[in-house]
């Protein structure tokens, strides 16, 4: 009985999320919608899904469509934790946003459990479609709701088209939808096309054009979710494809990653709006991740070695959500709004400074530890030239991260930002994220806990 239960565990997590979707939809049927109940339902189904994922022993194939390994578990943790802040603190009038969020998480869960390219594609679409709607539904203040959503949708469709084309090539090369390729030229083309779809999702250069616009035009809290869970899904896709493809695009990944970092660092230097700046910062982190995936694949792509990417994503969940939530909490939008914050709101300013330094990757923050592990793996993989470019980009990016600290503490001025009432949850998330960023760098032994998740 227990064996059977464990066997259907991945379905169980899917069912609990789907149950959450249905439950939330039912709440929506009432005339007066209880948002608190919606939130509780969402959290419950998420918790139940997590229980199912982690109760499942990491063994290979489950059915022709599903499989589970250590990476599945680890990435589910990232997806769920990345969605938590938005679920806990988001402000909505009705149930639709939670519905869409749970739907997207359902897609991510199945993505992590897919054993088959067709399944991978369906989950990819399942996780993406609700996200486009979410962007349309929760725009940033003073932005048209549809513009960014349409842009995002087009970029997503384009990436889906690449994926489908790759899938067709793969089918004609191997005669099936299984992951394993046969190494023929057509098959290599197929994997490269599908990898482009993944890079689209991650937002790597030169497929990044949609990213700053979308992250800027969405509500900051939603951008937090987009830059963590959704990006993690793209990284997962890239890792899975890389694991099974033979050669071809893998050797390009480190270069793409380093290029992304450079473009992000230099494009961010000119930004005046903070949310757009954070979007470029997120682009830079996407570059580190792609570099990390490249190094991981070159080193043999085994599950244990995925620790740097996993730890990076997990820490980035805190750093990115924390930074975007800070914007939501204080309503600052430009550099000058930050001035004097160090004096008027010392604790908040400290939190944002910790987050900025962590995003920059300065020891002793969590961001340093994460970036260090990725660079370390790239060093082991012998990627010296991309590493030099990446170090250079890190140094260049330091300029604008330091500017955040400088504006808050060193510049004269009085910040006019007002903290809205009833945002206790948001400020809790900001301070928790800042605490994670500031403390974890002092505790590298936390890594062994992460290593245990990966088996």
């Amino acid at each position: 009985m227990t064996a059977l239960l464990l066997r259907i565990a991945p379905l169980g997590s899917g069912i609990s999320l789907f149950g959450g979707v249905l439950g939330v939809a039912c709440v929506g049927l009432f005339k007066k919608i209880n948002v608190g109940l919606v939130r509780v339902l969402g959290l419950l189904s998420l918790a139940l899904a997590a229980v199912f994922v982690f109760a499942h022993p990491a063994t290979g194939s489950i059915s022709t469509l599903l499989q589970a390994d250590a990476i599945t578990k680890a990435w589910c943790a990232v997806f769920y934790v990345g969605a938590l802040p938005f679920l806990i603190a988001g402000t909505w009038e009705d149930e639709v946003a939670v519905l869409l969020l749970l739907g997207s998480l359902l897609g991510m869960t199945f993505l992590a459990f897919s054993a088959n390219l067709l399944m991978l594609f369906i989950s990819l679409e399942l996780l993406s479609l609700p996200v486009y709607l979410l962007v349309a539904l929760t725009p940033a203040k003073g932005k048209p709701s549809w513009e960014a959503a349409i842009k995002y949708f087009f970029a997503g469709s384009l990436s889906a088209a690449f994926f489908l084309l790759g899938l067709a090539c793969h089918y004609s090369a191997t005669g099936g939808f299984l992951f394993a390729g046969n190494g023929s030229f057509l098959d290599q083309v197929a994997f490269s096309l599908m990898a482009i779809a993944a890079l689209f999702k991650i937002g790597a250069v030169p497929w990044h054009f949609w990213l700053p616009d979308v992250y800027e035009a969405s509500e900051p809290m939603l951008s937090g979710f987009l830059s963590t869970s959704v990006k993690a899904a793209g990284v997962f896709l890239l890792m899975r494809l890389g694991q099974y493809s033979q050669g071809s695009f893998i050797s390009l990944l480190p270069a793409i990653g380093a290029l992304t970092m450079l473009v992000a660092a230099f494009a961010a230097l000119n930004q005046t709006r903070l949310q757009r700046l954070l979007a470029y910062s997120s682009l830079g982190h996407a570059g580190v991740l792609v570099l990390g995936v490249g190094a991981w694949l070159l080193l043999g792509a085994n599950e244990k070695n995925a620790l740097p990417i996993f730890f990076y994503l997990f820490s980035y969940v805190f750093m990115s959500n924390g930074a975007f939530f800070f914007l939501e909490l204080t309503g600052v939008s430009e550099w000058k709004d930050l001035r004097g914050l160090g004096k008027t709101r010392p604790v908040l300013a400290f939190c944002f400074a910790a987050l900025a330094l962590s995003l920059a990757g300065i020891p002793p923050t969590a961001g340093f530890l994460a970036k260090f592990l990725i660079f370390w793996q790239a060093f082991k993989a012998g990627l010296y030239v991309p590493l030099i470019a990446a170090s250079f980009a890190t140094l260049a990016a330091l300029v604008y991260y330091l500017r955040i600290v400088r504006e808050m503490y060193l510049e004269e001025g009085v910040s006019t930002s007002k903290i809205a009432a009833g945002t206790g949850a948001v400020s809790l998330i900001v301070s928790l994220s800042a605490a994670y960023s500031a403390i974890v760098g002092f505790l590298p032994w936390i890594l062994s806990a992460f290593q245990r998740v990966l088996g």
Partner: protein, 481 residues
């Protein structure tokens, strides 16, 4: 556990000072109490070193992952520097006692103290690097927030320069770790077992990366330009710690990491290192002669004095190494005292130019006395501490390379040419009209006590350096060629 306490205690104290509202209001008292307790901890841990029956105090390492292990150890050299750190932190906190400063100021010093303790105690290069970088952030705020007019520029310059150096340090560390893995198949970050290859481009590049990484902090001459700005703009307490403690970590890195890791290569590169040190001595001294600002003058004199430390170490003789290590402590005491007194002057008059003062001896005889003693200690008058360190460094170098030692001796002479005229201009020279030079009150009891605390050790080390040399002796004995 006790060694973990050394670095963790001040940092926890800093967090309490910052974030506990009840403590926040009494930040200066909380921070002082923490600093004094830390000083007591260090002193009490050192009884074994004094009596000479303890060579080192270490914690069993805890292995983490990727070859990184959490291991700390303390020998005589570490202990002496930890003591200097704890002592100067107390002095620095007390030096700003009367100023109205926010909790962040006091907490920054505690955080800095903890990070420096970590650098002096870590045996694992990963942790060494973490603590190395952690020193950067509080110092950035100390300069940027509580410094004088040009503080923003100085703070950013300080941060970018030292971060640039740290990247090289990280590269050097990675090179050692990777080479160790290639030869033994084991990942390790333990600074006691990592060794560089004996020859080849790889070794040269790794060596150069370390020299740049540590050299920014010392600072060695072409990469020193952050120092005059940072010292000048920092508040007095910040300058005391910056000169007294933070410059020492670079030389400590030379002693602990660079020289052991390059047993063979280190020898070939030594003349180069000695040459760099001699340039430091002469360049620092000549630049100091041209300064019209007291703080800037002392900052350049720091460059010269740290040159003597490197000079001694580069000789790798028993005298040279002992003298270089001793000079680390000496420089912490004398330069700390000088910055402290300039800080007192600045607090009273908001001026620090050489031309702004004259004939202070008639208004503030006590200050003149303390300043005079410290100036002579700094020049290296026999009987005071500076003489012992410089003499030993130079005699060590003379055994290896006479020309470099001779250049160094010239440096000692030039020191008299910039410190004595400055002393004369400010304290003895002609009295300036009241419009230029406001009246200066003499030292109060707190200020006198602080200066006595700094000056007594100068005499003790100058007259009887034996015990201190015995304490650092075993630690540097391994490095003698």
């Amino acid at each position: 556990m006790i060694l973990t306490l050394f670095w963790a205690f001040p940092i926890i104290g800093a967090l309490f000072t910052l974030f506990a509202p009840a403590f926040n209001a009494r930040a200066r008292w909380i921070s002082l109490i923490c600093a004094v307790m830390e000083l007591y901890l260090v002193l009490q841990a050192g009884t074994g070193f004094w009596s000479g029956h303890l060579a080192s105090l270490s914690e069993p390492g805890k292995f983490l992952t990727y070859g990184i292990s959490y291991s700390f150890s303390m020998d005589g050299l570490s202990w002496a520097l930890c003591l200097l750190n704890a002592f100067l932190t107390v002095i620095a906190l007390l030096s700003s006692w009367k100023q109205d400063l926010s909790a962040g100021f006091w907490a920054s010093f505690l955080f800095l103290e903890g990070a420096v303790m970590g650098v002096f105690l870590a045996q694992d290069l990963f942790f060494f690097y973490i603590f190395w970088e952690a020193m950067l952030i509080p110092m950035f705020f100390i300069i940027g927030l509580w410094g004088s007019e040009n503080r923003k520029h100085a703070a950013i310059k300080f941060f970018l320069f030292t971060f640039f150096g740290s990247l090289f340090l990280l590269l050097g560390i990675l090179a050692l770790v990777v080479f160790h893995h290639q030869t033994t198949g084991v990942w390790s970050w333990d600074m006691n077992i990592l060794r560089a290859p004996n020859h080849g481009l790889y070794a040269i590049l790794a060596f150069a990366a370390f020299v740049v990484g540590f050299g920014v902090k010392i600072p060695l001459v072409p990469i020193h330009t952050w120092l005059p700005d940072a010292h000048t703009e920092a508040p007095a307490a910040g300058s005391i710690i910056l000169a007294g403690v933070l410059l020492k970590v670079g030389v400590y890195g030379f002693l602990r990491v660079l020289l052991p890791a390059f047993p063979d290569w280190g020898m070939k590169a030594l003349p180069w290192l000695g040459g760099l040190a001699a340039i430091n001595v002469i360049y620092g001294a000549l630049s100091a002669m041209a300064q019209m600002d007291l703080k800037r003058l002392i900052a350049y004199s720091s460059i010269a004095h740290l040159g003597f430390c490197v000079l001694g170490i580069a000789s790798r003789t028993a005298q040279g190494l002992a003298g270089g290590s001793l000079q680390l402590i000496n420089h912490g005491l004398t330069t700390g005292a000088l910055f402290l007194m300039v800080g007192f002057l600045y607090e009273r008059t908001h001026k620090r130019g050489l031309a702004d003062f004259g004939d202070l001896v008639s208004q503030a005889p006590l200050l003149t006395f303390f300043f005079g003693v410290t100036v002579f200690a700094s020049i290296g008058l026999p009987g005071l501490n500076g003489f012992v360190g410089e003499f030993m460094s130079l005699s060590g170098m003379a055994k290896v390379s006479l020309p470099i030692a001779v250049v160094g001796v010239f440096g000692v002479t030039i020191a008299a040419f910039y410190l004595l005229p400055a002393f004369q201009a400010v304290f003895l020279g002609e009295r300036k009209p009241a419009s230029v030079s406001p009246k200066v009150f003499d030292l109060d009891l707190r200020e006198q006590a602080l200066l006595w605390l700094l000056i007594i050790p100068m005499f003790v080390i100058g007259l009887h350096p034996g015990p201190l040399l015995n304490i650092v002796g075993p630690a540097i004995g391994k490095l003698i060629l």
